[in-house]
């Protein structure tokens, strides 16, 4: 029983960052119809910005997190303007290949700059975990969960409560009509890609201190983000948020009770199961895709 509760707690904490990753990716797909293969690289970049500001510059841990998120925001905007805007109107395969190229450049660039050796980010939290009964949670992981939930809430507020969010939702439903109503769709695309990228960078910056930082860390994170997005239905933000927690739960239980070697296979088995039973995702109903 205690073991089960421990797994559930771990899944909850991991799920928060997975949800961030998934929401970023599904926003970009839903609004722009772009399969973003730079998502994993942006996750890596977020973690390395965190590492640079905390370990190399000696800046405060809590200040470094906004710096990493801002880094993702700026890099995302640059990628959108330089590489996606010229391909507006091309088919989905072309933009996907452009993103694969950009992802390769970012990942190899990180490897070239920082080398392949994994780096640790020092955290200001006490080493001793919080112990409740037989269940133990590290303070760092609790902070990661809190920060992830806060960022998810902020994203929701941005989408549902602001004028920018209204324009994004309009572009999601019908970009041509939105443009006719005076929405600057080009600007919305840049904002969407920047927002999605900053969420990926935030996930990397949050999980970087929990694990270690290395140039290839984004590859698996990206595949998991795809799994989450398929689970929730392509373009479905709430679906992606819930999908993040479901994937984390499946991984925790799979690693705990089946085999830890197949932990990372859970997401893909879920994808295959979802496509067999409900090809449009678990939560597809009113929302339109693309």
């Amino acid at each position: 029983m205690d073991e089960l509760i421990q797994h559930l707690v771990n899944a909850l904490i991991l799920g928060g960052t997975y949800a961030l990753l998934g929401i970023g990716l599904t926003l970009i797909f839903g609004i722009m119809n772009v399969v973003n293969f730079t998502h994993g690289a942006l996750y890596t970049v977020g973690a390395y910005v965190m590492y640079l500001t905390v370990a190399a510059l000696g800046l405060n841990f809590f200040l470094a997190l906004p710096v990493a998120i801002l880094g993702g925001l700026v890099l995302g905007a640059v990628i959108e303007v330089a590489l996606l805007r010229p391909f507006r109107g091309s088919d989905i395969d072309t933009t996907m290949l452009v993103m694969i190229g950009a992802g390769i450049i970012l990942q190899s660039g990180t490897l070239w700059t920082f080398g392949g050796v994994a780096k640790a980010i020092p955290s200001p939290f006490p080493e001793a975990p919080l112990q409740i009964g037989m269940v133990s949670v590290s303070w760092l992981r609790l902070f990661v969960l809190g920060a992830a939930l806060a960022l998810i809430a902020l994203t929701y507020a941005l989408i549902n409560r602001t004028k920018l969010g209204l324009a994004m939702r309009a572009a999601f439903q019908d970009s041509d009509t939105a443009a006719l109503m005076g929405v600057d769709v080009r600007r919305i695309y840049t904002a969407t890609f920047a927002l999605g990228s900053s969420l990926a960078a935030a996930a990397g910056a949050l999980l970087g201190p929990v694990y270690v930082v290395f140039p290839q860390m984004g590859g698996l994170a990206e595949l998991k983000a795809f799994a989450i997005v398929i689970l929730g239905g392509l373009g479905n933000v709430t679906g992606a948020a819930i999908g993040g927690f479901i994937l984390a739960l499946a991984e925790e239980l799979g690693a705990g009770y089946v085999s830890s070697g197949y932990r990372d296979a859970m997401g893909f088995l879920i994808i295959i199961a979802v496509l067999l039973c409900r090809p449009t995702g678990l939560f597809a109903k009113a929302e339109r895709i693309g």
């Binding site: 391909f87 989905i92 395969d93 694969i100 190899s108 296979a265 496509l275 090809p279």
Partner: protein
Amino acid sequence: MTRLLPLALLAGLVALPLALGANPYLLNALIVTGILTIGAMSLNLLLGFTGQLSLGHIAFFGIGAYVSALTSLGFDVELGFGLRAVHEPWPPVVGFLLATVAAGACGYLIGRLSFRVRGAYFVIVTISFAEVVRLVALNWVELTQGPLALTNIPAFTLGLPGLGFWTLKSKLQNYYLVLAVGTLCYLLIARLVHSRFGRAMRGLKENESLALSVGINATRTLTVAAVISAAMAGAAGSLYAHYLRIIDPDVFLFATTVTMVIMVVAGGKGTLMGPVVGGLIFGLLPVALRPVMAPEAQWIVYGLVLIVILFVLPRGIVPGMAARLGRRPARSAPVLEASPAVPQ
């Protein structure tokens, strides 16, 4: 001119080792390039002719490599429930055939599973499949040796009873084997593309509703294309295993799929010569770049070249060059003429 190009290239490739002498480094690069080019040709059958991007293509390649290696090495595995699978080594040629069949069967499963949804879903299902297969290769240590790799894989043995057998151990022999299999795959794809089935494939890619309305069965056509494509990738994987004679789970690296995609897109997807030209350029690019830059920097160049080609020659090198020479390649002519119902 475009008719003569493949023949001229083939003649050049047959004569190349004579010009190179026996430079083992270059021959090795050419063999690996040739194997990857076969992979790229098989990927092109899906990406170029049906428009479905398989980003897990390396799974079929890797399955081919492992099936072929295990068939020729033999294995003894506990399956649980008191069941035990014991296999005595068979000749590599049988491994090659089984590799083709096994990879084709996986292509069938993936096709049946994901062509109901297609598009972005197909991309992600293929990636997921490759990742699951890689994790199995890594974790089923009893069968695959996991990260310790399968070693001492026998080299190909060719021959007929009564005429004697050759074991293809030298690089030169393997070079010609790869060239022969590659030529065979090229001819097969050329036959296929010009057949009724090929017209159905391209019809689906260009205008699906119109293709459906003239009675083309979309799921069946795409699944058959996936089976042939996967089987060819499996054959390439088998060549790889018996040439290197050692394989580990790194054979499933996503980067290799990306290399094949770059070969196809750069050369010209949906053309017969595109993957061959793209394959030769990008397979041999590392040889040219190796003296001047580190491997990470080479990958940056790869990414840049991919983006630049999409900007400058969105249809690829072969169609781009053909247009410049004043001739549209026959492949790019639309098979179905129809204006879209809704103007974009």
